[in-house]
Amino acid sequence: MASADKTINTDVPEKDVFAIHFLQSLSNLRIQNLFNSPDTTNYRVRKIKKAAYVSMARAAGGTSRLWSRALLRRAAKGNNKIVRFPRRKRKVTWKISSKRRRSDQRAPVVEDAAERLRNLVPGGGGMETSKLMEETAHYIKCLSMQVKVMQCLVDGLSPK
C-alpha cells in the first residue's frame, strides 16, 4: 500500500484535560446563575450538553481538528463574541461538490454509510470520505473520553 504515507494521528489528550475543560465550563454555567430559577429542565440540560460538547472540542485540540472547529463555530453562533479561530497556515481546499459527485460513484455502499456519518459527526458535510473516517476516529475517541469524565462526575455527585 502506501509505504510512504503519513500515519494517521488520532491522539487525544488525557482524561484530566477533558475534566478540566468540562469543569471550567460548568463553573461558567454556575456563574450565569442558570440553575437558580430553572424554567425548564430541558433548557438546563441543553445548556449542560452544549457545555459538554464545547469543552470536549476545546480539550480535543480546539481548532486543529475539523470536527472540533465546526463544533465551536456552531456553538459560537449564539454568542456575541465569536470564538477566536487562529489563522491557518495551510490553504484549505474546498472541493466538496466535485469530490462528493465523484465519490457518489464509488462504492455506493460506503458512500451511503458515509452520508449518515456526516450527519453525525460535526463538520462532516465538507469532508471527503477518507478524511471523514479520520475525523470520525478522533471524534469517537474524544466522545468516549468525555463520556468517561461525565460519568465520573455524575458518579461522584450522585447521592450514595
Binding site: 500500500m1 502506501a2 509505504s3 510512504a4 504515507d5 503519513k6 494517521i8 489528550p13 488525557e14 482524561k15 484530566d16 478540566i20 471550567q24 460548568l26 463553573s27 461558567n28 454556575r30 456563574i31 450565569q32 446563575n33 440553575f35 429542565t41 440540560v45 449542560i48 450538553k49 457545555a51 459538554a52 469543552s55 476545546r58 454568542n79 484549505v92 481546499t93 465519490s103 464509488r106 462504492a107 460506503v110 454509510a113 456519518l117 453525525l120 459527526v121 470520505t129 477518507s130 473516517m133 470520525t136 476516529a137 471524534y139 469517537i140 475517541k141 468516549s144 473520553m145 463520556v147 468517561k148 461525565m150 465520573c152 455524575v154 458518579d155 461522584g156 455527585l157 450522585s158 450514595k160
Partner: protein, 499 residues
C-alpha cells in the same frame, strides 16, 4: 525476400521516370541481374536517379575496369542483346561492379541520391540489414544487394527510407508522426518489417527486451519518462490509444506495461502522499491524463501509483483504487476503536457498527448531561464544609485522574476502563465523593448564596486549579498553567466566552 525486393519496384510512381539518355551502365546492371520480367520498372527506377552524376562516376569506374571504350547506350544495349557470348564478359563486369560496390568511392554514386524517390527507399530498407557480401554463392545476390547497401549506407537515406517505406504500415507512419527518435524506429521497424512472417511475436521479442532496458531512454522514453513524475503507467497507453493505427504497437506496449507493472508490483506501489492537496492533484491529474496524447506536466506533489498486474490502468480506476485503499486503511483504524467490530466483516456492516457507536456515544453524553443537571439541583445544599476538605482531597483526586489517564494510555478498551474507574469509585466512595464534590461544591455555593459569591467561587476554583498545578502531571501543568497565568479577571471573562 528477393521477390519482395522486386515486387516493390512497382511502387514507385512512374511519373518521375524518364527514359534516360545515358546511365546505361546502370541499365546493364539491372538488366543482367534482374530475373524478374518486370524489368521496365527497374529500369525506370534507375532512370529516376541523378543521372548525370551517376553516369559520370559510373562511367569512370567502369572505364577503369573495362577494356572496351566508354559504354554507350548502343554498346550496352547491344550487350544486353549479346546473349551468351557477351554474357561472360557481362558476368565479369557484374563481379567487378560488385567489387566496386564495396569500395568507399563508389558509394558516392549512390550516396548522392538525395532526391531519390520513394522507390529507392523500398530497396534501402531491406538492404540495411543484409549481411556483408560474401563471395561465392551469393555472388549475384551480393551484386544485387550491394548497390542498395550503398544506398542504405547513407544514414540520412536510411532515415528517409524508413519514413517513406513502401513497407510502410500505418503504425510506422503513426509512430513517426509522434516524433519519436527515428533511429530506433528504423531499427525496430526495419527488423520488424523484414521478418514479415513473424510480425507481432518478433516485434514483441524485439521490442520487449529492447524496451525494458531502454526504459530510461529509447523510444518509449518520452512516455515512460512521465511515469516517475506523472501519475501512472497509462501514459503510454493513453498516448497510444488515440491513434487507432497503433494496434500492434499499442498491444505491444500493453504487454510491456503488463510485464513492467508486474516487476514494479514487486517493488510495491510507490506512493507519495502530499499534505492536503492530494485530492486536488488527483483531480487535475485525472483530467489531464484522460484525453491528452502528450504526458501532462505533473504538479509538484503527486501521488505515485503503480498499476498492478492484471488491473486496469485507467487513470480513473487507479485513482479509485487509491481512494479505496485509503478508506480501507481508515476503516481498519476505526475497527480498533469501536468495540465489537472485530467480528463484523465487510465495510458496510462495519460502517453501520461505527455509526451506531457514534450515536450511542452521543446519546450517552446527552443522558449524562441530563443526570448532571439533576444532580446539580440536589447538590445545591452542599456547603462550605466541603470546601474545607477540598484542599486535602484535591491531590488525591488529581492522582485519581492521573491513574485514569494511565489506564487510558495502556489499553484501548474504553468500557473496561470505565468499569475499572467505577469500581475504584465505588470502593472508595466516601472520599471520592468528597473529593469530587469539593470543586463542585465550590462552584455551587455561589448559586446557593444567590449573591455575588461567584468571585470567591472563582477564586476557590482557581485555587483548586493551582493545587492541581502543584501535584499534576506535565500536561495538566501546562494546560492549567495557561489558565492560571492569566489575570483572574481576564480568566473570568475568558470563561464566559467559553460557552
Amino acid at each position: 525476400m528477393e521477390n519482395e525486393l522486386f515486387m516493390n519496384t512497382e511502387f514507385p510512381p512512374p511519373s518521375e521516370f524518364e527514359p534516360p539518355s545515358s546511365s546505361s551502365a546502370m541499365m546493364l546492371n539491372w538488366a543482367l541481374m534482374d530475373p524478374n520480367p518486370q524489368q521496365d520498372s527497374s529500369f525506370l527506377w534507375e532512370k529516376s536517379t541523378d543521372q548525370q552524376q551517376q553516369q559520370s562516376i559510373f562511367d569512370s569506374a567502369l572505364s577503369s575496369l573495362v577494356s572496351s571504350p566508354t559504354p554507350t547506350n548502343s554498346n550496352f544495349s547491344g550487350g544486353c542483346g549479346g546473349g551468351g557470348g557477351d554474357g561472360f564478359i557481362i558476368r565479369e563486369l557484374i563481379g567487378k561492379l560488385g567489387n566496386i560496390g564495396n569500395h568507399n568511392s563508389s558509394r558516392e554514386i549512390y550516396g548522392g541520391t538525395t532526391p531519390m524517390s520513394r522507390s529507392a527507399l523500398c530497396y534501402a530498407t531491406p538492404m540495411s540489414s543484409p549481411p556483408p557480401p560474401s563471395n561465392s554463392n551469393s555472388h549475384i545476390m551480393m551484386n544485387r544487394t550491394t548497390p542498395l547497401t550503398e544506398f542504405s549506407a547513407d544514414p540520412g537515406f536510411a532515415e528517409r527510407a524508413a519514413r517513406f517505406s513502401c513497407f510502410g504500415s500505418r503504425s510506422f507512419n503513426g509512430r513517426t508522426n509522434s516524433n519519436l527518435p527515428v533511429n530506433n524506429n528504423n531499427v525496430v521497424n526495419n527488423s520488424g518489417k523484414l521478418t514479415r512472417v513473424s510480425s507481432t511475436p518478433a516485434l514483441k521479442a524485439l521490442v520487449s527486451p529492447e524496451v525494458a532496458p531502454m526504459i530510461p531512454g529509447g523510444e518509449f522514453s518520452r512516455k515512460r519518462k512521465a511515469l516517475p513524475k506523472g501519475k501512472s503507467k497509462e501514459n503510454p497507453i493513453s498516448t497510444a490509444s488515440p491513434s487507432p493505427s497503433f494496434s500492434k504497437t499499442a498491444e505491444k506496449k500493453e504487454d510491456w506495461s503488463g510485464k513492467g507493472s508486474k516487476s514494479s508490483d514487486e517493488k510495491g506501489g510507490k506512493r507519495r502522499r502530499e499534505d492536503e492537496d492530494d485530492d486536488v492533484e488527483e483531480e487535475e491529474g485525472e483530467g489531464n491524463k484522460s484525453n491528452n496524447t502528450k504526458p501532462p506536466e505533473p504538479p509538484k506533489d503527486y501521488i505515485h501509483v503503480r498499476a498492478r498486474r492484471g488491473q486496469a490502468t485507467d487513470s480513473h480506476s487507479l485513482a479509485e483504487r487509491v481512494r479505496r485503499e485509503k478508506i480501507g486503511e481508515r476503516m481498519k483504524l476505526l475497527q480498533d476503536l469501536v468495540p465489537g467490530c472485530n467480528k463484523v466483516t465487510g465495510k458496510a456492516l462495519m460502517l453501520d457498527e461505527i455509526i451506531n457507536y457514534v450515536q450511542s456515544l452521543q446519546r450517552q453524553v446527552e443522558f449524562l448531561s441530563m443526570k448532571l443537571s439533576s444532580v446539580n439541583d440536589t447538590r445545591l445544599e452542599f456547603n462550605v464544609d466541603a470546601l474545607v476538605s477540598k484542599d486535602v482531597m484535591i491531590p488525591s483526586s488529581n492522582n485519581r485522574l492521573h491513574e485514569e489517564g494511565l489506564q487510558s494510555k495502556s489499553s484501548s478498551h474504553h468500557h473496561q476502563q470505565l468499569n475499572i474507574y467505577n469500581n475504584n469509585n465505588n470502593s472508595q466512595l466516601h472520599p471520592n465523593n468528597m473529593m469530587l464534590q469539593s470543586p463542585m461544591n465550590s462552584l455551587e455555593t455561589s448559586s446557593l448564596a444567590r449573591s455575588f459569591t461567584h468571585l470567591p467561587t472563582l477564586t476557590q476554583f482557581t485555587d483548586s486549579i493551582s493545587q492541581y498545578q502543584m501535584f499534576s502531571e506535565e500536561d495538566l501543568q501546562s494546560i492549567v498553567g495557561m489558565g492560571v497565568a492569566q489575570n483572574p479577571n481576564h480568566e473570568s471573562q475568558h470563561m464566559k466566552l467559553e460557552l
